[in-house]
Amino acid sequence: MRDFSPGRWERVEALYDEALERPAEEREAFLDEACAGNAELKSEVLALLRAGDEAGSFLEGEKPAPVAAVREALHREPPPGSDLVGRHVGPYRIERPIGRGGMGQVYLAVRDDDVFMRWVAVKVIRRGMDSEEILHRFRTEQRILASLAHPNIARLLDGGVTDDGLSYLVMEYVDGQTITEWCRSQNPPLRARLEVFRTICSAVQYAHQNLVVHRDLKPTNILVTADDRPILLDFGIAKVLNPNLPGYQVPMTRTELRVMTPEYASPEQVRGLSVTTASDIYQLGVLLYELLTGVRPHETEGRTRAEIERLVLEREPEKPSTALSRAATVATVPGGGEPGSVARLRRLLAGDLDRIVLMALRKEPSRRYASADRLQEDIRRYLAGLPVEAQSDTWAYRSAKFVRRHPAGVVAAVALTMLLVAVAVLSIRFAVVTGAQADRVAQAARRTEEVRQFLVNLFEAADPAIARGRPITVLELLQEGAATVENDLAGQPDVQAEMLGTIGAVYRRMNLLADAEPFLERALAMRRSLYGERHELVAASLVDLAELRALQSRSEEAEGLHREALAVLRETVPEGASEIGSSLNNLGVVVYEQGRFDEAVPLFEEALAIREKAFGESSREVAETLANLAYAREDRGDLEGAEREYRRAISIQVRLLGDDHPDVLVTRQNLGVLLMNRGDLAAAETIFRQVLDARRRLFGEHSAPAQTTLNLLGRVLQAEGQLDEAEAIFRSVLAAHRADLGDRHYYVGRDLDVLAGLLVERQRWEEAEAAYIEALSIYRETLDGADHPRIVEARSALSKLYASWGRPDRSAAF
């Protein structure tokens, strides 16, 4: 072909564009004139124009041809397991295919090297999923999964890799029909369905107690045997096959491959967030919905995946009793088909069963049933005619609904919510995460989730209004929000108090502490006058204000408020309620932060006991308190006890959240600190480098969490005698903290304190002295009492410095 000259190309392009603007018959004349005798230029442009006329649909065909090439190259491998029938997989002889799931083909197989025959189900994992990885995860999970011995859970027996490199899992073979088939064929009455469901809940609870989350509970994973016994399949398998959370993106139906519709996915799974036991509760809710009504919470027929996801995230499901109308003709409804049965069923569902189902299906994990057992218990109570735990919704929804009724205030409210989100996210990104702060980070993360939901609801209502608006700054929005609350909500003091408290909390999160104060104080005062001293909401406001005081370094006041909140809670909520656990935990943190480690320990211990009961032994809340307890024990000198709690906390967290979750990193780091303090420097260094690496990846190179870890790495390097690297690290952390937090922040004091220690070691006395003195003056401003351990330690370090320096004279001056 002709080679276009690069020197001329720009000109060619310009002429081509211009020529194209003209009618075809004028183009040549135009080029004659424009090229002014440059024949080559003209012929190039003309050739291009002609090619353009001839090109037709060149490169624009509907299906790009290259697709065929990918297909060909990749097609050579046969589908996995297609040729397995009659062959052996490990000691199992494959008999026949019995189904196909997201992960691959399932076969009926028999173990024939035993004296007696044993039937099993063998799941051959489809190719393309990394066999080695799967096998590795299988080995790590195997012990736990194999130990799940429950009559309603199919055992995982074995796993391995076939000769041609396919991984497989071997499970107990269950002879039964899926629970939806069972409903269709047996048409069991309501009570029988509820009893079967309770059994399922108990099995799930058992697994949760053994630290196994199912992640993929759906009718095809629940078989019912001929004697009406439900058996759960694939417990914990989702994690082995796909540990990185995108939970439900496990593809495939029978013949065509597609990404599974998110019909059974929980909102957090749709978002790709951490999958916890709460996701299983949600999926149990979907299942119950289907058992009661014959339909799923959201109409998914004919919708795209994106639409279904939106429904899962945003739409409140209709009550089961109402949803019956969608299912009126479906035979899967209890008592289905009989005249009058639907109307009767509707009466049965309305009320308690509606509430129970909707509570399991709440968008925010923390507002669902705390455990499968609590869900099961509520069904039992319903069956026994007792009052149930499930209640209708509380504040987030009330506020959202309020906003829908009052469109004028919506823009400001939306703004406020956006703020909440932004601030919640910021507070995670920039929270300086050391030790006891782990608690706050965890809380912030949870709140972000709730706030997001709130935001979504608000956006729905306010879309057109925002579209017209100009960009507004964050602070403007906040002020506008406050004004709206003052004016428009005057007639509704309860909602007003709620919003004032929210605005205060937003200011607090933005670290505008002085601005936050009046709002939080007013919210508390209003609630006191509305509800009296002894009310749960008063306790909530007390906690809000306490957190502000803690941030203002007014620890004693914070402690007083927390104690007051605790006292109110003890009178207003049942003994052992989770709120009391949280309150004790928060109080423990404040007490701990004042250096009263001995006193903090029993507070955490009581919190732990409550949380273990309320959330289960392997819950995130328990892990949180365990970590706090570990920290307090450590600072009190009980290193062995601390290490034990850390390791327990870490194992729970890893199981619930995965390896690289921010919370896990916090606890790991604290374990590193402990090991460092015990003198196990190499182990500590390894942990710090791991955590640092993960945090840089997650939060960014210069993020506050990464800085904190860096600081610790510096300290361990110092202890190992690598002083140059250590000093460089300390100085960069100090500079970053000064820039982010101001010169008088507690962390700046800590950084100086640490740096001074290193300078002493290097015998750079004057620099060390200056650093200690500045650190002490910051400590005195930010810590309570001259006998705070940090102050005592720094003072004694300073006098040691003078002794080593041989300048006791200076000591007097100081």
């Binding site: 090109a55 490169l59 065909g61």
Partner: protein, 194 residues
């Protein structure tokens, strides 16, 4: 396996011109696409077709944190995907050609028609050569072809990635097609009629 937050972070760095991030992002997307293609293909019966848009969409769902990213991030992500797609397809094509020289003809199995999308299907390696030439003359035109043809992106999306008007993209796409058609038809007598 890829973490969508990591992808989002990389994407932000990529957009601000961090080359290391661009490389890492590219290789993540490349691996993911290959993996997905691999899986999709191993479960298809002969006669099914696979579509690149679907492939890209699945990679997108898998890799991309839809909560944190805006529309702009998304189209940039697609642009990276297009590059990965181009790379994969060209690699496959090379491998295939090498194999044909080796004597085993896999085309027989594929000639049922459904697999080869349409009669005017271009030879991918010819296209790649021509695209490289175009890249020498004006990289933006080559980039547009990459996004449009290999990534199935809309004109408007491409315009956002390149930060130019849709009209410009439209004109450039026209030009690029003319150039490529000319380049490829200059090689074989009847372009597209192989």
């Amino acid at each position: 396996m890829a973490d969508s937050h990591v992808v989002t972070q990389l994407l932000i760095a990529h957009r601000s011109g961090d080359e290391g991030a661009s490389d890492r992002l590219f290789s993540m997307v490349y691996d993911e696409l290959r993996g997905i293609a691999h899986r999709q293909l191993s479960f298809r019966r002969p006669g099914d077709t696979i579509n690149t848009t679907g492939l890209v969409h699945e990679a997108y769902l898998k890799l991309f944190d839809r909560n944190d990213a805006d529309w702009n991030d998304r189209v940039h992500f697609f642009a990276v995907t297009a590059r990965a797609m181009r790379q994969i397809l060209v690699d496959q094509s090379r491998a295939q050609k090498a194999q044909k020289r080796g004597g085993t003809n896999h085309r027989t199995e594929l000639s049922s028609g459904v697999l080869v999308a349409d009669e005017s299907a271009v030879d991918l390696l010819d296209l790649e050569d021509a695209l490289e030439k175009l890249n020498q003359l004006n990289p933006r035109l080559a980039k547009i072809v990459e996004m449009r043809y290999f990534g199935g992106m809309e004109i408007q999306e491409i315009a956002a990635v390149l930060d130019v008007s849709s009209r410009t993209v439209d004109r450039d796409w026209h030009k690029a097609r003319s150039f490529l058609y000319l380049a490829i038809s200059g090689r074989s007598e009847a372009p597209g009629g192989r």
